[in-house]
Symmetry: C3
């Protein structure tokens, strides 16, 4: 929805910000774009000072930026303390969230079990299968190729992008969104060894996702062997993430792509895991911890700490360790020189002693 | 299926175990659960001594545990040497494996080529495509959204969860199970360089899975350029695993999530690879080797060895190396002190010499 | 298509090679195979000297190899400077690329929006959904279970293997091939923090793939928050690769399996990334750079350089560093010995001084 710059400022004020407008308050914008891509009629923003020089060339109709940044006189400006937060609010104001095409009625290619109960106002695309005894709340949007297994219990405002697979007995809260190709509730790697052979242990647990969980594409979340694997409310995952059986993740965590957690891990609230992090099983990651990219976590991480490396250690130690490693050639040279000085001392000493 | 504690003990005896029952042999249980989750009517177990204190609070109707562990008097107990193996047997006894809903006949949304031959007693869900000249044995269960490409030759008791894709010419033994979203037989990364461009090399090989192979969800197993990529009988994979073209993996291996093997790797029998392991191509991993989490294997690994690190080295060396790295600040201090002592010696020596 | 050895030599000459034929020029071959697998009627090759001994046992009707390699007298030989390039040309000559079964007309289970425009000569399998206002060029082949979202604009000769998902507004050039289960254009991990909660930022950008891009299976390529995520012409991906929002990759790059790039990364032309490489966001990888397996790239990489390690550094430094780490026990011993010699010197010196 298009808006004048004055209206955009009202939106920001509604979010508790204090925008200062410079220029033409009646200018209309109908889109948000980067400084580089912006065309006439679009609003852009400058958050990272690295891109300051692009202000001179942008064709944006207005730019959101910090109070103290210099900008060419011809530009309309909205100055706010946090341009990134502001532009987020403006994207929602101007563009809104993705609109999902409505599919009016059940199609011959949609396979919904008779025993399944689906709430009002659902959009179930052709090519979807919903199995026995599933319960789904109101306003569900389910794209083609999704499968929801027997006895799943799912809240309102479900959004499944194409080809999502939800195994039997999965539980989800309200407003869960899952991106394409993700699999929830497959069997974990549970086998008992008999000699060199592996005998499958039935995985009789399930997966529970809280409210407002968003999972990226092509993730795999194992069901528990017994009990449940849990993703807490408000937690957000990127893509290609693997969660082992019985692992429990608390609220408002943020996991970047390709993170892999073993089984029976306990992750606290508001934990951030950067890309390609891995953990062993049966450990505890405390609330508000941050795990740096590619870390391999082999022990408990205390609440609030930032860990890095493989095996992961507190980030200050990890960085110091890295500097020490970088300076190894130097240390070796130092030792070599000391050796020479010792040899000289020994020689001189022996000569002197002999001379006496 | 529910059972009395006496009947559960019979099951364990049938597995060669020697259970000792304390308490009410006639008590009926109908489920298995963790100590924490167990309710009246469920049997639980204690394997890890870490959780011993939970015995006081569990509501389980019986607990399987080791002979020497203390437990409250009111609890019914089944004492065995290996509680984990015992509970596995009891899960199978009480819960069994997943039951697959039968789909009685071919549906208008199921696309099976006329030239395909599918054995007796198959359950092919709507939304499945089976292409030309495919042969599948008896008792196949194929969930919605699966695709089986031309000329695949597959044994009995096949189980494909939703949205599995099997490319042309794949060969599978009996009792293969593949979890949702996994892709078998896509083209490998085979290109010939012409200047800076990459010219595709037709990937005319195929993939062969042995008997009793189980593959997790969202894995990708490349077909070979020539010949075959092979996963040996009894091998089990977790999720998001990538196998390069022409790689051959022997029997009864166990691969944890996000393992990635390059092309033309040869993996022996009963090899374990922990999460996020990667290997370069054209190497040999010997029988019974274990590769630790996140290891980057750049050379052959001898049979029976455990390797860790990137580049991967024998685990004892890797651990020693890690200790050395941790102690680098100490070593640096030590060198600094030696330097000072040498300086003192030099000063004293020069003073004495000059004094003489 | 079968061919005589003389005809195969003509093919190689057509590629600018100078093959020398030894043996029966009229021998007919109908397939290409490895030395180990080759049967009568197949041509094989020897590129890696490691496998030279297999020449004695192969049943191939002819072998392509280098001019100077010794081979048994009974073998028909085609000698060329680059046997690997030659066999690539011969695979194309004898086997060609995968033939896709034609699907004659639109099926009841194919869901193509009325507003979508699809070029001539298309093969759209049952179970495909093509959404509103999509434009696709001529000769498209789209396998079952694929979804192409609203407003996508795609060139000619598109090839989508089963269960590929293309989100709204994706742009593709000509001759793009995408393997099974890959997802293009899902929302990136874009959230604004409000206290401990994460508020979704609408991801209003898109993904653009150039001409001749081939993407492996089960990859995930995020759409941009604003603007576009871009994969340049001629770039080839293996499987399970994650590309973050707004990242731009130039032409003719080659990415091995499980590579993960964060958002807003800029990758130059003809860059090679080995398996399981990860990068932080907002960095630049220069043209023709090579990133070694498992590297964690935390800073810009200059054009033409090869980087390795986590954090990634120039490969020569990384290798030297590794040697230094391996020799740490040695260095520690050395320091210990020096310490002893200093102690001896100190003792002797004090004794002598005292004696004077």
């Amino acid at each position: 929805m298009q808006a004048t710059l004055a209206q955009l400022c009202e939106t920001l004020e509604g979010h508790g910000m204090k925008p200062e407008l410079r220029g033409d308050a009646t200018r209309v914008v109908h889109g948000v774009a980067t400084l580089e891509d912006a065309a006439e009629g679009q609003v852009s923003f400058l958050s990272n000072p690295k891109y300051e020089k692009m202000l001179a060339e942008t064709r944006a109709s207005a730019v959101v930026l910090k109070p103290d940044v210099k900008a060419p006189d011809h530009l309309n400006l909205i100055r706010v303390a946090d341009p990134y937060a502001a532009i987020t609010a403006l994207i929602v104001r101007v563009h809104g969230y993705r609109q999902h095409r409505r599919v009016p009625e059940r199609h011959a290619c949609t396979h919904i079990a008779e025993s399944a109960r689906i709430g009002e106002n659902a959009t179930i695309h052709p090519g979807v299968t919903i199995d026995d005894d599933v319960v789904i709340g109101n306003n569900a949007v389910i794209y083609p190729g999704c499968y929801v297994g027997p006895r799943c219990r799912i809240g309102c405002d479900l959004l499944l992008y194409p080809n999502v697979v939800v195994y039997d007995d999965t539980v989800m809260g309200d407003r869960v969104a899952i991106h394409a190709g993700t699999v929830i509730g497959e069997d974990g790697l549970g086998y008992a060894p008999i000699g060199e052979k592996w005998i499958k242990i039935p995985q009789i647990g399930y997966v529970e996702l809280g409210d407002d969980v968003e999972i990226g594409s092509n993730c795999s979340i194992d069901r528990a062997t017994l009990g449940k694997t849990k993703i807490g409310s408000g937690t957000k995952f990127s893509n290609l993430i693997a969660i082992g059986h019985g692992t429990q993740i608390d609220e408002n965590c943020l996991f970047v792509a390709q993170v892999g957690l073993s089984g029976s891990v306990s992750v606290g609230k508001h934990v951030t895991m950067a890309g390609q992090v891995g953990t062993v099983g049966h450990i505890r990651i405390g609330d508000n911890a941050t795990i740096g990219a590619k870390a391999g976590v082999t022990n408990d991480v205390p609440a609030g700490e930032t860990y890095l490396g493989a095996p992961a250690i507190p980030i200050t130690e990890a960085k110091r360790q890295f500097v020490h490693i970088q300076r190894l050639p130097e240390l070796k040279q130092q030792v070599k020189k000391l050796q020479k000085r010792i040899e000289e001392l020994e020689t001189r000493f022996t000569a002197e002693s002999g001379a006496e």
